[in-house]
Amino acid sequence: MEGLRNDGRRWNELRRIHCQLSTSGSSADGSAYVEQGFTKVLCTVTGPAEPGSRQRGRSDGATVVCEVYFAAFSGTDRIKRGRNDKKVQELQTAVQKTFASVILTHLLARSEIAISLHVLSQDGGTLAACINATTLALIDAGIPMADYVCACTAGQPAIGLGGGSGGGDDDEPDPYLDVNYLEESDIPSLTVATVGGGEKVAVVSMESRVRIERLEAMLAVGISGCARVREIMDKEVRRYGKEKLDGTGE
């Protein structure tokens, strides 16, 4: 299709992003809900709190733990993913490692921060949505962090959209920003997360093979997407903060 992806976007367009803070109210210390296209993730954060009875917590900082739950109805086919599912474990590790490095843990010695993520619907970019939701929930919980961690995906189509005039065959096709489920299953894609919307990359994860020359362009597109995700998240945080301060909220 000329110049358009299968859902009508162009190569450099994000999907609709909707985010909301404090969705679980008082039942958690912080919570957030993020939709990127039809990928929907709910995150709740408890902590900083005393660690569970077993561990005693690190004396030099806080421990971050993460649990991910996939709703059985979240994908096209109904699949139950258990605790030991490989995909679940990978997601948990990725989120836990990312935030352990970004949260200012030295300020919260001997405490535990528990992140719990519920994936309600999957339409591509699950890891990115999980990271974005966690960032917002941590902000809602008031946990000190270096900056926003914003994530986005980028894919590399084999054939270009031919949006240009020449459309010469020697041109490398433009990478796709923010791939949806169909694209994710079709073309190689990566997830990248940056700290503060700059060029400081916190996470890069890729599960498919791609030519090494194409990687740089994909990363660049992904990083630019992260900056735009940050703007959207920042806007929502400020709106929510203002609402709270104005006392117009509940």
Binding site: M1, E2, G3, L4, D7, G8, R9, R10, W11, N12, E13, R15, R16, H18, Q20, S22, T23, S24, G25, S26, S27, Y33, G37, F38, T76, D77, D123, A158, G160, L161, G162, G163, G164, S165, G166, G167, D169, D170, D171, D174, N180, L182, R209, V210, R211, I212, E250
Partner: protein, 976 residues
């Protein structure tokens, strides 16, 4: 607890997002509901050069370029739309009239809606591909408008609205939008706006459109307003043409097909079977369907059971009860004799089985009952209950002169079209140019085959020229075998090196071309090829090493250096798949600049090569193998004969000749080793047509001569192919480009074995290729030296064809090449003329870390698609080559009636097949009457007491006659 409240209220602000909901049901019976987002936009241009607004908003890509606008500012007018018009056809128009739409004289400035494009894609992939290539070409000005993604033209399916209705509405909405948009654009520049014309044949849709004030017209009326309306109207699918006639048609001749779900369930339960239908070469009333559940093919006899299936269709069959099982017919039946007096125009009183056919079938049934060893030879029979996938294509042939009503000068009439391919039934064609088309080679497409019609109905596509002119016949042949023969498009030629013929291997070794390349220019390399060969793929060398072993090198043209993956030239080559050799013409896979010059390993010049270097012991055992890209300089290009003479000439003792002697010595050992492993030595009747150099008319026919040097080259090429196959399989176990040759099922040899047993008291052992090779060697008749060759020719036809595959699709034991008796094989040695070799080159280059592998060569799906195409192209190229030889043999023997010696290769109750070795031709001789036929002894006694015996010699007269059925000059054999 607060709830997350958003969605509908929130989404209202976003009218630029909508979702598409659809239900997908899998074959397993599972139903999935899928919801996808759609982003609606306002920046999709109308692409009319009239419009300024869209030009300003035109989207750009990452390098800030936008597409040029397609639709011209002054589109052509017709009588109905004198102000000019843009066309907006609906889906059915594309499905039924693609041939007319592709015509050069009309159908310019066409808006292809996304809705329509997707519908076409779902209905017919080949037509979709043709439509896409139309939209890509600059000359026809086809523009794909993404109406589904444009906010104003997106249409939501209403409740209770069928998908078809919704799509029709989408087309009307898009048409309306375009009309307004173009009017505005034209008004701002003060021109009279061209009309936007919706083209449809759906009466309902047309009525609704005109009610909405749209310009709309049906196809017939539209085409009538064009200049060459007669020709264009002929090209329109007949299903549109005789819609009215269809309504008042007579009785159904054929049984109805089962519904798709009934067929699916049946196939799943095992009550029905699915397979490809093949019409018998000798009997047009009989065909076979190979299904996995039975060893033997299922026999389908009679038109009613064949139920409108055409050769190559994927069909579903139902087994007939056992008491109706039969032997394969031993009669020659041909369409001609059955349907001689039928009139194409008459379709009311056609009975399914004509009297003549019925008699033929009854005769046969009687004969079977008489036969003795019924149980052994009887085959399960089946009837076709549905067609899963049609294999219809364009057919080349001519109009049956008998069916044309010459008196009727103007107006439409129905005529019979006789395809060249005898397996295809006659096709009824509606035409307004019947008298002009007589005596022409024409192309016809099948449109449909209704239950009420005895023959399929088709439409005229184009005329190739007079029958029997060289140009028309060659083009007919290429079309018939789907060989892409048009000149290379500009995009392909743009990929060639800019230096053209002046390209040289760079002198400076620091040039990137020399990167990781070995300098082999000092080796004494030569090439040995058929005389007059221009595309030299391979060259060889050999020399003695100090340790007593030999170094042998095979050097292959480095085509992958010039053809980069996935550029236009690569796609074109992948599409063509192979170079096709005809008697008087070569249809290249690569542009001639590469094939005959830059890649070709011509003598005395430096060329890039891909070399395989072995160290071999004097017993021809490989000690070590090295693969490397190299630069070589061939010292000489020999023809087989010249090389043979050079080797045989004892007085020549220069190092080059010595090297060739080493090669010959080693090749004999390699060959012996291969034969010991059980490689088959099969025969095919190959002849060569000598052309007169001045008139380029065929002059004489020669049987191809085989010299030792032929097999010298062959052995080393096989050896190189095997070495490369191992290497690329090791590097890419999932996607290596390999070639396999399956072991033929033992049942394929049943006929031949029982014939040999009965006639010669010989047997074939078919357990392994080794056993077969040995028993073929034993098949000799001391009195008749040619008998062995004849058996080999027949045995070759029992084999399954070799095929390309990517290594991930088969288990390792299946990699075996039966004919060559090797466990793994690929094609590496002819990259100029075969795409598979080019792919192998790229994979080998990656395997030796020369350059990274392109994505397309490690992607399983893409490899599968490439391989599938290659197999088809390879087979077609072979058929086209053979057909070309056949045609020229016919031309060479024209007006020369000779008596020749032939051998009986197959025998029927009313005729037999004779093979004439001198001309490499095979012909069927039909006999009007015979005395007795002994099916078990394969003896046919003629009225005059002469006996025709299988495998025995027979004198035949070879004449060339113009065949009525195909309009082509063909050799005809008669008993002398």
């Amino acid at each position: 607890m607060t709830s997350i409240k958003r969605m509908l209220a929130d989404a209202a602000g976003h009218d630029s997002i909508t979702s598409k909901v659809y239900i997908r049901s899998a074959k397993s019976g599972k139903v999935t509901k899928i919801v996808r987002e759609i982003y609606l936009r306002t920046d999709i241009p109308c692409s009319s050069r009239l419009c300024r607004v869209c030009l300003l908003n035109a989207p750009v890509d990452s390098s800030n370029r936008s597409r040029p606008f397609v639709l011209s500012e002054k589109p052509a007018g017709t009588t109905v739309y004198p102000q000019g018009h843009y066309l907006m056809p609906d889906t059915n128009i594309f499905l039924q009239c693609m041939d007319a739409i592709e015509h050069k004289s009309a159908f310019y400035d066409v808006i292809v809606l996304q809705t329509v494009l997707e519908e076409v894609k779902n209905r017919s992939l080949p037509l979709y591909n043709r439509l896409v290539s139309l939209t890509k070409s600059d000359e026809k000005r086809f523009y794909v408008f993404h109406n589904e993604f444009r906010q104003e033209t997106h249409v939501r399916r209403g409740q209770e609205e069928s998908i078809n209705d919704r799509n029709d509405r989408a087309i009307r909405v898009a048409c309306k939008w375009y009309q307004k948009h173009i009017e505005q654009a034209a008004a701002s520049s003060g021109i009279r706006a061209p009309a936007v014309v919706m083209l449809s044949n759906d009466k309902d849709n047309l009525a609704k459109a005109s009610a909405e004030g749209l310009d709309c017209i049906d196809l017939q009326n539209y085409v009538k307003g064009l200049k060459n309306s007669d020709e264009l109207l002929d090209m329109i699918s007949s299903s549109l043409q005789d819609q009215e006639r269809k309504a008042n048609r007579g009785d159904n001749i054929y049984p109805e097909y089962f519904s798709i779900s009934k067929m699916n369930t049946g196939v799943r339960n095992g009550t029905l079977h699915q397979g490809t239908f093949h019409t018998s070469t000798y009997n047009s009333l009989e065909g076979i369907v190979g299904v996995p559940t039975f060893d033997k093919h299922l026999l389908v006899t009679g038109l009613e059971n064949m139920n409108r299936a055409v050769d190559g269709d994927l069909v579903v069959v139902e087994l007939l009860p056992q008491d109706q099982w039969k032997r394969q017919s031993d009669k020659l039946v041909d369409q001609d004799t059955l349907t001689k007096n039928e009139n194409a125009d008459v379709d009311e009183v056609e009975a399914i089985v004509t009297e003549r056919e019925r008699r033929a079938l009854v005769d046969e049934a009687k004969r079977i009952q008489r036969s003795q060893d019924e149980s052994q030879k009887v085959q399960p029979t089946a009837k076709i209950v549905g067609v899963v996938k049609r294999n219809w294509r364009s057919y080349v042939g001519h109009i049956d002169p008998g069916s044309v009503n010459r008196a009727k000068s103007g107006g439409q009439q129905v005529v019979f079209f006789r395809p060249l391919d005898k397996k295809i039934p006659k096709i009824r064609v509606f035409t307004r140019q019947a008298t002009q088309l007589l005596g022409q080679r024409i192309v016809v497409n099948i449109d449909s085959w209704d239950r009420t019609s005895r023959f399929p109905v088709g439409h005229f596509v184009r005329a190739l020229g007079e029958l029997e002119t060289k140009e028309a016949e060659t083009e007919a042949l290429l079309l018939e075998w789907d060989v892409q023969y048009r000149p290379f498009p500009k995009a392909v030629l743009d990929c060639l090196p800019s230096e053209g013929h002046d390209w040289r291997v760079p002198e400076d070794k620091s040039h990137p071309g020399w990167h990781k390349r070995t300098d082999l220019r000092d080796l004494l390399i030569c090439s040995i090829d058929p005389p007059g060969c221009q595309d030299i793929d391979d060259a060889l060398h050999a020399r003695l090493l100090p340790n007593g072993n030999y170094e042998v090198g095979v050097h292959i043209a480095d085509v992958s250096n010039f053809v980069r993956p996935s550029n236009a030239m690569d796609s074109e080559a992948a599409q063509r798949g192979t170079t096709v050799y005809l008697v008087d013409k070569r249809i290249d896979m690569l542009p001639p600049l590469l094939g005959t010059d830059l890649c070709s390993l011509k003598p005395y010049v430096e060329r890039y090569a891909f070399s395989v270097l072995w160290e071999m012991t004097p017993e021809a055992k490989i000690v070590n193998t090295i693969f490397t890209k190299s630069v070589i300089k061939s010292r000489e290009a020999f023809a087989y004969k010249a090389a043979q003479m050079r080797i045989d000439d004892k007085s020549q003792t220069d190092p080059l000749t010595e090297g060739m002697r080493i090669l010959l010595m080693l090749s004999k050992k390699l060959r012996q080793a291969r034969m010991d492993a059980g490689a088959l030595n099969l025969a095919s009747p190959e002849v060569k047509v000598q052309m007169e150099s001045e008139t380029s008319d065929p002059a004489s026919i020669e049987v191809k001569e085989l010299l030792e040097t032929n097999s010298l080259v062959e052995e080393f090429m096989l050896c190189a192919n095997i070495s490369v196959a191992r290497k690329i399989y090791e590097a890419f176990p999932q996607t290596a480009m390999l070639r396999r040759h399956g072991a033929p099922p033992a049942t394929n040899f049943d006929d031949l074995r029982s014939q040999l047993r009965a006639r010669k008291n010989l047997d074939l052992h078919v357990e392994s290729s080794k056993a077969l090779a040995d028993s073929l060697d034993a098949c000799v008749d001391p009195q008749e030296p040619y008998f062995n060759t004849l058996v080999r020719i027949i045995a070759t036809r029992c084999m399954v064809p070799a095929e390309y595959f990517s290594s991930g699709t088969q288990a390792y034991p299946e990699f075996r090449h039966y004919g060559l008796a090797t466990d793994i094989y690929t094609h590496f040695t002819s990259p100029i003329r075969r795409y598979s070799d080019l792919a192998a080159h790229r994979q080998l280059a990656a395997a030796i870390d020369y350059e990274p592998l392109d994505e397309s060569l490690y992607n399983k799906d893409k490899m599968d698609a490439v391989v599938k195409n290659l197999n088809v192209r390879h087979r077609n190229a072979q058929f086209a080559g053979r057909a070309s030889v056949e045609y020229y043999v016919g031309q060479a023997l024209k007006n020369k009636s000779t008596e020749e010696e032939g051998f009986v290769a197959k025998i029927f109750s009313n005729g037999f097949v004779v093979f004439v070795p001198r001309f490499g031709i095979e012909g069927t001789i039909r006999l009007e009457s015979t005395k007795t036929f002994d099916a078990d002894e394969y003896v046919l006694e003629l009225e005059d007491g002469r006996k025709i015996v299988l495998f025995e010699k027979v004198r035949v007269r070879v004449d060339v006659v113009k065949e009525q059925a195909t309009g082509r000059r063909k050799t005809e054999l008669t008993l002398a």
